[in-house]
């Protein structure tokens, strides 16, 4: 690591721990069990939006992220229902299934330019949804899949059993999966692999000519991101206890677009940006339940305004403001402040 890494500032560990602690107690503070379900949805969306951003690190946008969520969801549900495996097995295996599907499509998809890649991911997700929708024998077709088991009790010797089946306990289980996942994604981004990904995004021919096997790295990126989408899907399935693959469902094209909005509104330039966007927008949509039909309109307007007014999103804009007017800028020489302002891209 160089003396001053230009890419991202290190997230202060203390701040992160505080954040995680906050997320852990927040639903409890709110009162009713209802909040646990909401927050479960929030952190699932956070994982989805953050893993979507991983793909963005190589300069691609996937409009089909929910397709891999679907593979993870149905995979885990079916493995637990038809084959009888416990959740601690079905969830990771289902995520691997999502990664496997990603691997199959990765090569042809990543060969083409960014715009076409985006539309191909859309195609893939819709195809997966239609397969789930039509495969009556496996997925219950239009009636959906119901009765997905929750997690069984965890037996700890001498302490008895911890039930994870209740909605509040499930939240903690989900948190136990999501937080380490985010940690992994963060470490990846800061690793040499992440650096090479960004090099591919910023100057692919140059990266190639210094020896980076670009296709391999892009495929690794896509497969890893889709693994976590599958993981999120599996968490979703066992929390909801039911799945359906309607066009209006969680797995419709619209939801993929929501994820992109979460990423952009929160700020695609920083690691926590998508998390911020996902949290804010998910909470808003869950709370404003009365005006449910109007939500997409509001979200759509926010997305468009965000693109036009704030190219870096909320987190990015806040970061820029902090660098420009915060304590460090006050101490720096004028030229450095100029650089700080121009530092984002």
């Amino acid at each position: 690591m160089s003396a001053r890494s230009s890419s991202r500032r290190l997230l202060a560990p203390a701040g992160v721990i505080a954040l995680v602690a906050l997320m852990a107690v927040a639903p409890g503070v709110m009162g009713s069990a209802y909040w646990y379900a909401i927050f479960t949805t929030v952190i699932i969306n956070v994982l989805l939006a953050t893993s979507l951003r991983t793909i963005f690190l190589v300069g691609r946008i996937s409009l089909g992220h929910v397709g891999f969520m679907l593979v993870g969801a149905y995979g885990s549900a079916l493995l637990s229902m038809r084959v009888g495996w416990p959740l601690w097995a079905t969830i990771p295996v289902a995520a691997l299934m999502a990664a496997a599907v990603a691997l199959i499509v990765a090569y042809p998809f990543l060969r083409v330019a960014g715009v076409y890649f985006a539309m191909l991911t859309l195609l893939a997700a819709e195809t997966l949804r239609l397969v789930a929708f039509n495969w009556k024998s496996m997925t219950g077709a239009s009636f959906g899949l119901s009765g997905i088991p929750g997690p069984g009790p965890l037996h700890i010797p001498l302490l008895g059993a911890i039930e994870f089946g209740r909605v509040d306990r499930y939240y903690y289980l989900a948190l136990l999966v999501v937080v380490p996942s985010l940690l992994v994604l963060y470490l990846l981004e800061r690793s040499d692999l992440g650096l090479k990904w960004r090099a591919i995004r910023d100057g692919e021919p140059l990266a190639q000519s210094v020896g980076v096997p670009v296709m391999t790295y892009k495929m690794a990126n896509f497969v890893i991101a889709c693994f976590f989408a599958g993981l999120a899907g599996a968490l979703y399935a066992h929390g909801q206890r039911g799945l359906d693959a309607e066009a209006t469902s969680r797995f419709g094209a619209l939801m993929s677009m929501y994820l992109v909005v979460y990423m952009v509104v929160g700020g695609e330039g920083s690691f926590l940006g998508p998390a911020v966007g996902a949290t804010l927008l998910t909470l808003i949509s869950q709370l404003a339940n009365s005006a449910k039909e109007y939500q997409p309109i509001v979200v759509g307007v926010i997305a468009i305004l965000a693109t036009i007014a704030m190219p870096d999103g909320i987190a990015g804009g806040a970061g820029r403001a902090w660098r420009r007017w915060g304590p460090a800028a006050a101490r720096a020489k004028p030229r450095e402040v100029e650089h700080a302002g121009a530092g984002d891209s």
Binding site: V112, A118, L120, V131, E268, I297, T307
Partner: protein, 289 residues
Amino acid sequence: MDVSPQLLWQSLINGFALGWLYILMALGLSLIFGITRIMQFAHGEIYMVGGYVVYLFSVSLHLNLYLSILLAMVIVGAFGLLLYYGLFKRFSGQMVNPIIISVGLTLILQSAMIVTFGLSQRNLPRLAQGHFTVLGSPVPQDRILVIGVSFVLVLALYVALKKHRYGQAMVASVQSPEGALLQGISHVRMGAISMFLGSALAAAGGGLAGSVFQLTPFMGNQPLIKGLVIIVLGGLGSIPGVVAGGIMLGVLDGVMPVVIGSGWAAIIPLVIVMIVLIVKPTGLWGYER
């Protein structure tokens, strides 16, 4: 394979008609992208909105269906112009921002239609009642009319691009932006025309689909994807290519679900696209600058 010839024949005709609707979508997308370098991911919603506008004219106002379609083409085309000047033009050539704009538009338009018209499907008046008899089998007249109307529209576009000065400039611009500037027509104006024409074509498609099939707020999703598949297969900037690709895809979509079941049939476009991309992805990065 116990499918009656009757059913097969019906699905073939259906598929053919469907194919032409896809062609209308794909041509618009291709034109817009070829000239402005913006992939209008909300194009499916334009198609859908077009269908509902036709509904307003033909059902609520009791106007003649064909007249309604024509009016819808003009109005939706103008809407496309508005979107271009207001939203898309400033992001010409970029990838990320137009996607976000398109996403936002999709959310807004789909929900606006759900709020206004509800989720249940509606129907437009039939283009025609009755059947022709071809080779002893009945062929619904409205399917034939869909094919006919679409063909006329596509032909009109083809002629306009070949003969008209603006059209020639637009074709040249798809190959190289500098060439068109030599003709003295600004890039912005060509972008606007492409948005107008593309949206108008999509609206016509939506209206025809609403008559032969049905109107739902989600009817734009599949045609958008099929349009994208056709561009991958048929290439950018080639009307014959899009027509060929559209008919082929439409027929597959019409016939395959009957023959091998809708589950398996859904995978076919994806598999075809993947094979094409592995074997011959030319023209897909050839146009990227």
